[in-house]
Symmetry: C2
Subunit: 197 residues, 2 copies
């Protein structure tokens, strides 16, 4: 079933990749529609037509970010032991948040908007939900590990997930402020030293 009407002249995913970069670097509120349309190389009308408005564009960008930049979470969850999950998750997170190529440092879901005015509380909430969802997936994985006897019986899966996620958030903040991979690697390793296994 082919679509009728004039065909779109840009690639949605490519445009979203550009939007991701701008939002990642500047956060939601500081990013103007002109910033977006310049980076995405499309006209304002096209953006509104394709995505709806600024907030909807942001949500799509975050979705794209999760797909293209946080694959290591799925990789980690797929590993056979809780210990391997934790190691892969945290070490990959360190790689992802520290300087790599031309990408901004830090994490879009954190610096995108931790605080905002009344008008943009939806964005703050949305980002919080995104992070909570990822943490919940990690917790679920550790719950399965506990059920298999892959974790000491006195360890609570949710606590382990929150532990790793909290440190990951801290790494993102540090990386955003300029901390290097070498600065933060000892933090990762020390964190893992307190993880069972």
């Amino acid at each position: 079933m082919a679509e009728s009407g004039r065909p779109r002249e840009f690639d949605v995913d490519e445009a979203l990749d550009k939007a991701v970069e701008v939002f990642w670097r500047q956060g939601y509120e500081a990013t103007t529609l002109d910033d977006l349309t310049n980076a995405m190389q499309i006209a304002r009308t096209s953006l509104y037509h394709a995505f709806g408005n600024k907030e909807a564009t942001f949500r799509r960008a975050v979705e794209r970010y999760a797909q293209t930049r946080m694959g290591y979470l799925d990789e980690a969850i797929g590993l056979p032991t809780a210990r391997a999950v934790a190691e892969h998750y945290l070490r990959s997170n360190l790689m992802a948040v520290t300087a790599r190529g031309g990408d901004p440092t830090g994490c879009l879901t954190i610096q995108g908007g931790l605080a905002a005015g009344a008008a943009d509380q939806g964005v703050v909430q949305f980002l919080g939900d995104c992070r909570a969802g990822a943490e919940a997936r990690l917790a679920e994985r550790f719950r399965a590990a506990a059920a298999q006897g892959d974790l000491p019986p006195d360890e609570q899966p949710a606590h382990l997930a929150k532990y790793l996620f909290t440190i990951a958030a801290g790494l993102a903040v540090q990386a955003r402020a300029g901390a290097s991979r070498a600065d933060l690697a000892p933090v990762v390793e020390r964190t893992l030293s307190a993880f069972p296994g």
Copy 2:
């Protein structure tokens, strides 16, 4: 030496406390001058006269925040052992960033501005410098501990400071998103379990 001229009709510190609360809740960019003047109960002209402009007001507010809300860092540094420093710092940080009275959650120096547009990079840099300064004071304290034989010889003071500071930043992010003291206390204790002593 008394001051000449019309006396100020508001208390600078009280006004700054109100500014702290607004900036803490909304971040730098999302806070408008009207938000500030409404909260501080002063006219726009008075704000400009007393503080200079929005950014200068923010810097004064952060200074005030450090004085009134981060006293636990000094307390921690004054304790006799590196271990006690770490415990007091991290446990107090947890209290400070989680819900207490009517205060916002999280940490002003983090959610105040992790990312911004080109015009406000100075604020992002300033907040990063504030955090780096606090981390450096912790590192200095651990350096003294190492010199006294209060830390294992293979431990690097700067690594320990970065470790604690990274987790503190993570706690602030989690608390901002709604995590409670009970949720995060196990993270604090696990973090401390990997700290020497």
